[in-house]
Symmetry: C2
Subunit: 347 residues, 2 copies
């Protein structure tokens, strides 16, 4: 099922529109933007994935050195039996894991929400020892005048949730790791509920458990507790392998509307929804049986990693939801859908 209206201008931002952060790097992907409005502009905080030109016989990857904060290259021979490489996004070498690209976050601005101009330089680069393999897939929640950025921090220490705030998109305040490994897809609710902040996040199990959406609460956005499972993957359905929250939960008169992504065993990523109780967001009122958006267009089916629509940001305009999304892990795209139409998929 696919009931969204894609922008005819898609893709809105392509890798060739983005200036590399260094002359010796190539932008392979610009995707999965966080979304916000600021001083009348639509802002996207895009994930930009780079790597150096690839030599014959070698896989070369960039990593950030956490001491002098510069990018260094690592080379792996394809003939090396320790190299285990069958996914364009990641690989193993011996008992260590690596990513093929290094991601940073970069702002793009638009007056009309369709034509974007992306900054010439990175906005947020990996900096700490938790970000040597990059920063990815930022969710942006505005609470009063402050924007809170929850993003995936990747390093040899694992995949965890990083946290940054800003009021002016020029000065950024960094906080410690919000959730330890293995955790990602974290988004904050836009207001306190019964005096507490709430977050959705996606810890992963090993052998036991799975890739489920959990909900937690906090008195101060720094310390989190009261962790509980919100929804799990479902066998024989579109979301049977992994699920994760998309953009900021949307307040409706039926409850909190949460857009979430689901992937199946083939790593096809689709978008669905669930509804949480307005007073107690730990309670699921309903959940879609089918996604409302699936990979359909050429630019969603073919790319850096095909068959993916992945959104982590949207804007709400009355009943209209404007979704910005990553297509095939390569492009930034946009689409519109009526919130009432999403709610009608939730019985």
């Amino acid at each position: 099922m696919d009931i969204v209206n894609r922008f005819s201008e898609n893709p809105l931002i392509k890798p060739e529109d983005v200036k590399p952060s260094r002359e010796d790097l190539i932008v392979e992907c610009v995707f999965n933007p966080g979304v916000f409005e600021y001083k009348g502009f639509v802002g996207l905080l895009c994930r930009v994935a780079e790597r150096p030109p690839q030599k014959k016989d070698y896989l070369t990857i960039p990593v950030m050195n956490p001491f002098h904060h510069e990018i260094e290259f690592l080379e792996f021979s394809y003939k090396d039996p320790l190299l285990d490489y069958d996914d364009p996004r990641k690989f193993r070498y011996g008992n260590k894991g690596y990513l093929t690209t290094l991601s940073h976050l970069r702002l793009a601005w638009s007056e009309d929400g369709i034509n974007f101009k992306i900054d010439e330089k990175p906005t947020i680069k990996g900096w700490t020892t938790y970000e040597t393999f990059g920063v990815e897939d930022c969710r942006i929640t505005r609470i009063f005048d402050e924007y809170y950025l929850t993003y995936t921090a990747v390093s040899e220490n694992g995949v965890c949730v990083g946290f940054i705030s800003t009021m002016d998109w020029k000065n950024f305040k960094r906080y410690p790791v919000m959730f330890p490994p293995h955790n990602k897809d974290c988004v904050l609710f836009p207001e306190k509920i019964n005096g507490k902040y709430y977050a959705l996040h996606r810890p992963s199990g090993i052998m036991l458990g799975g890739n489920f959406i959990w909900i937690s609460s906090s008195p101060d956005l720094i310390h989190w507790g009261n962790h509980s499972v919100l929804i799990r993957t479902r066998e024989n359905m579109w979301d049977n392998e992994r699920i994760g929250a998309c953009g900021v939960p949307i307040k409706t008169d039926k409850g909190w509307l949460v857009i979430y992504h689901g992937a199946d065993y083939t790593s096809k990523y689709c978008v669905g929804a669930m509804l949480l109780d307005y007073e107690n967001p730990e309670k699921v009122i309903s959940r879609c049986s089918e996604p409302f958006m699936e990979p359909r267009e050429e630019y969603e089916k073919e790319g850096f990693f095909g068959n993916v629509v992945f959104t982590n940001g949207h804007l709400v305009k009355g009943d209209e939801l404007i979704i910005y999304y990553g297509a095939a892990d390569k492009y930034v795209c946009g689409a519109k859908i009526k919130i009432s139409n999403i709610l009608s998929t939730l019985k």
Copy 2:
């Protein structure tokens, strides 16, 4: 290296000393006790692992039903190609993971610290939807008159850290999940440091990261933040596969002495130590190069899962550390070592 003095009375508690929690169950293991003192007695909160008698051709396991809180049995045919079983402790069936036994926690009491009498009934059983596969490996930290129990909660929702407190060992207060999956080996520091509570815990990475010890802080023991990696596994050493904190950190004049376990790629579990800064426990002052305790005795080498010494509790008597530990995942044992001797392994 092994510099501990084992009790000649070892094993102190054996499976045959423990009455099953139901007539149709067999106690396979009694091990990994949390340790405390209460009203002049030494208390052990032992992990007791049970399962029903095994039928020919079938693997039968007990699981706790979270709705009526009774144990139910699941049966798997050894001929079923979906069964993937090569570890006595756990197995996979299709894409789901299971444990071969169901653990509860049970008190044992002693006047002399050597001769223990174990209760006839479980003290703490799996109860919530996070504990359907059992509760395991409890650490006990006394802060003023309250005992705080941090333990491993296992279920289809994953492996996470559960939290219970008691003042009298009769009434127990349950709290929500302390750390979401995949996390275990959590122990609280015995006092606030610079106004904050601290915990050591062991989140695990997937493909990236590993099984490292992290440290976090909290204003209230419920909400945790400021997560950072304390120590990681070390290649080509005894602790190259996974590490985790043992009992409560010990205050010494050199800093916080932390006993930790390390396992290598063969799953041989040994015990080592590190020293943390007294004022700032996020700072590692030193770490042993060799373990101070290794599987050596017959009862440590052969059991439910051999080649394991695993401690999650101890008592401090001046310079003497009395370690209670699980041997070969089957027995409760005891040993003594001088704290000054452990400190001398830390340069």
